[in-house]
Amino acid sequence: MIRFENVGLRYGTESEVLRDISFTLQPGSFHFMTGASGAGKSSLLKLMYLAHRPSRGLITLFGRDMARVTRAELPEMRRQIGVVFQDFALLDHLSALDNVGLPLRMGGTPDADAVAHCTEILRWVGLGNHLHAKPSTLSGGQQQRVAIARSVINRPRLLLADEPTGNVDDGIGMRLLYLFEELHKLGTTVVIATHNEALIRRFDHPRLHLDNGRLHVMPARNAKWG
């Protein structure tokens, strides 16, 4: 599914924010990504959702060597990746329903089907009464749930989430994690960047731990002890 080999990333002429990153994520795996603020979690996620190209090293995604993937092929690959951004990245002028439907529209799903799917998933995340609400009228937690609904509406092969439970209470957070678990069981590869140790202990998945730009892969049992 994903393989990083000696990947490094630097922005401009700055020193590398990610150094010698090597790991492999099997299809259908579930990983937490941990690390202190500034350790490089967001940068690693950006490489994984193809927002950046690495400064060095080799990335293989869905069996494709990303160095050989042309720009024209990227949209199709990106549509197979669901991303929950840390700042939600919702479009303020669109309703919750329209925000969630964005990936479907890009993929050419018929409108009627898209509306049905979006309505269903928004109800599932507890926003059935806010289908037409604009993000500015929703609380932080509600916006986050819209962002999560948008990231999974396309049944992505790879789901990446940057602090998806950061703005919701424990009950909602747990419910969202169960949603990710369900997708994982359906075969979606999931990577969740989080600081929430309680969730990490509860769901017992291996960790990708970043420390000052370097990655340490920790198996699930270590996470329990952490």
Partner: protein, 298 residues
């Protein structure tokens, strides 16, 4: 449910941009000017065609009065002599002398009602229709011999000037339309680039979610098409009103020096296509601008 259907908002909130407002106004102005330029070119073209078809294939003989020439035959005799020469000349189909009142009527726009004054030394004109090549030089010599004071005009100079003038008018109209189109293209480029800069974050987000460049460009194309159509129709309506006013006023002028200023139905229909052309140009420009700009994204 309005979502996902006809009333669904664009992914990019382009309608809120300040640049949106000016694009409609600029398109209105440009369509107005382009429609006037095209209408002017069509009127001149029609006028030239009428003159051309009226003059080509014909000759005009003018026989001037000779008040100071003692012993010269009277004007009417010289006209008859000229008609005899003309009717026997190869290539001449018919030769018809205009009456004095016909000549006065032709000159009325320049001289007024006084053109019919018998005291004015008016020349006599003979309208000659041809159906084959005519030896203009030889015929001129024979006319001068038979009817002193006669001159033969084959309209060659006039027709050449007329055709050159028509060509220049067409070229000028084409230049005006090209300039207007160029200004329109620049306006759309500016507007789209502004939109891309304002909504850079949204565009990048759409890209990360898997939007193709064409998906993004279609949003801009739809947006500028709507603005251009609105502005174009307003500009066309204004142009039609102005042209209608001009044509109405020109038709009311008595003894006018102006030729017949009218537009055929197909010409009005052609003017109606100007806003459509503006819309297509705006869409193509928006597409080109967006695709070119997005090409720099990873």
């Amino acid at each position: 449910m309005a979502l996902f259907f006809g009333g669904r908002p664009s992914d990019l909130p382009l309608a809120r941009d300040p640049s949106s407002r000016f694009l409609a106004w600029i398109t209105a102005l440009m369509v107005f000017l382009a429609a006037l330029a095209l209408a002017g070119a069509m009127v001149v073209s029609d006028m030239a065609r009428r003159w051309d078809s009226g003059l080509a294939g014909g000759l005009t003989v003018q026989i001037a009065p000779l008040p100071g020439a003692a012993g010269a035959p009277p004007l009417d005799e010289r006209v008859e002599a000229a008609l005899t020469v003309l009717r026997s000349a190869p290539g001449v189909k018919s030769a018809t002398a205009l009456t004095a009142s016909d000549t006065a009527r032709l000159l009325e726009p320049w001289l007024g009602p006084e053109a019919a004054d018998p005291l004015l030394p008016m020349p006599r004109l003979i309208d000659v229709a041809t159906d084959g090549p005519v030896d203009v030089a030889g015929l001129t010599l024979r006319l001068k011999s038979a009817a002193p004071g006669a001159t033969l005009d084959d309209h060659a100079v006039w027709l050449a000037d007329l055709r050159a003038f028509t060509g220049a008018v067409h070229l000028a109209a084409l230049g005006v339309v090209a300039l207007i189109g160029g200004a329109g293209v620049m306006s759309v480029v500016f507007s789209v680039r502004t939109g891309l800069a304002i909504h850079r974050n949204v565009v990048e987000l759409l890209h990360l979610m898997g939007a193709t460049d064409r998906y993004v460009s279609r949003q801009f194309e739809t947006h500028v098409a709507g603005l251009s159509l609105r502005g174009g129709l307003a500009g066309l309506a204004l142009a039609v009103a102005v042209l209608g006013g001009i044509l109405h006023v020109s038709s009311g002028l008595r003894a006018s020096l102006l030729p017949d200023l009218t537009l055929a139905p197909w010409q009005w229909a052609a003017l109606g296509l100007v806003p459509m052309a503006a819309v297509l140009l705006a869409m193509a420009t928006a597409r080109w601008t967006v695709l070119r700009t997005l090409g720099s994204l990873p």
